[in-house]
């Protein structure tokens, strides 16, 4: 083979925006993007914790910030994203967990997803009810 031939560089397809080519990958990216808002919520809570440790005035300022329209709008968005996180988390659960067999048959994916979503709904409801009951 001549050195000329070995030096040629073939066509390399660009990978830019690869995930926009297929709705499956768009859903994948949407799922991954939830992480950005999970960080946002963790930071809101972390700031609250730090303000709480700094004393009553600092904490009350954080509480006031929470009740601004901007914060309420952010949390409305966060709520939608967290629900999507729950939905997608259990949707991929059949692929991410070890195979499960009951009576010699593989447990169907829909059963795993459905069970996960039911458990999540029960947990969320229990938390809201517990807060309502135990809060003064």
């Amino acid at each position: 083979m001549s050195s000329e031939a070995s030096r040629r560089r073939g066509y390399i397809r660009s990978m830019d925006g690869w995930w926009r080519r297929d709705p499956f990958f768009v859903r994948y990216m949407a799922r991954e993007a939830t992480a950005l808002l999970v960080v946002a919520y963790a930071v809101v809570l972390l700031v609250g914790l730090i303000r709480l440790a700094q004393g009553e005035a600092a904490y009350n300022a954080w509480l006031d910030a929470l009740s601004t329209p901007w914060s309420l709008a952010l949390h409305a968005l966060l709520l939608v994203v967290f629900v999507y996180h729950t939905w997608s988390w259990f949707l991929i659960m059949p692929k991410t967990m070890p195979l499960m067999f009951v009576e010699g048959g593989k447990v169907p994916a829909a059963v795993i997803t459905g069970a996960g979503l039911v458990v999540a709904a029960v947990c969320c409801l229990a938390l809201v009810v517990a807060v309502k009951l135990f809060a003064p």
Binding site: V39, A42, L45, L49, L52, Y59, L78, T86, V131
Partner: protein, 116 residues
């Protein structure tokens, strides 16, 4: 052979993701919408929050929520960056996991400072 540290990151990712999936929506609703909008008046008042953060279970709960959410997200972002063409070197790892570690330390310091 050197042992891989990947299982640690993956378990933190899984634990945080599971916690967020199970109670995340309710938490956001309670702390970000219901309490500030006055549906649950006084729920997050200073005395209540202080008592919760000083209680052993409350303390553990707050620590787990903040730290696991951070580690979950850090791991997910690190792997998604690879899909976007940013390939994981030491710097990328540091930028993803560093803030999670810093947040975990900050939460620990705050929770310990709050006392028991």
């Amino acid at each position: 052979m050197k042992r891989s540290n990947q299982p640690i990151y993956w378990s933190l990712f899984g634990a945080g993701g599971m916690l967020a999936a199970l109670i995340g929506p309710a938490l956001v609703f309670i702390t970000g919408i219901a309490a500030p909008a006055g549906v649950l008046p006084g729920l997050m008042s200073y005395p209540n929050a202080l008592a919760f953060a000083r209680n052993g279970i409350g303390k553990l709960f707050l620590f787990l929520v903040v730290s696991l959410f951070l580690w979950h997200a850090a791991h997910r972002i690190f792997h998604s960056l690879h899909d976007l063409g940013v390939h994981g070197g030491t710097l990328t790892k540091l930028l993803c996991y560093g803030p999670a570690l810093a947040g975990t330390v900050a939460a620990t310091v705050a929770l310990l400072a709050l006392g028991f």
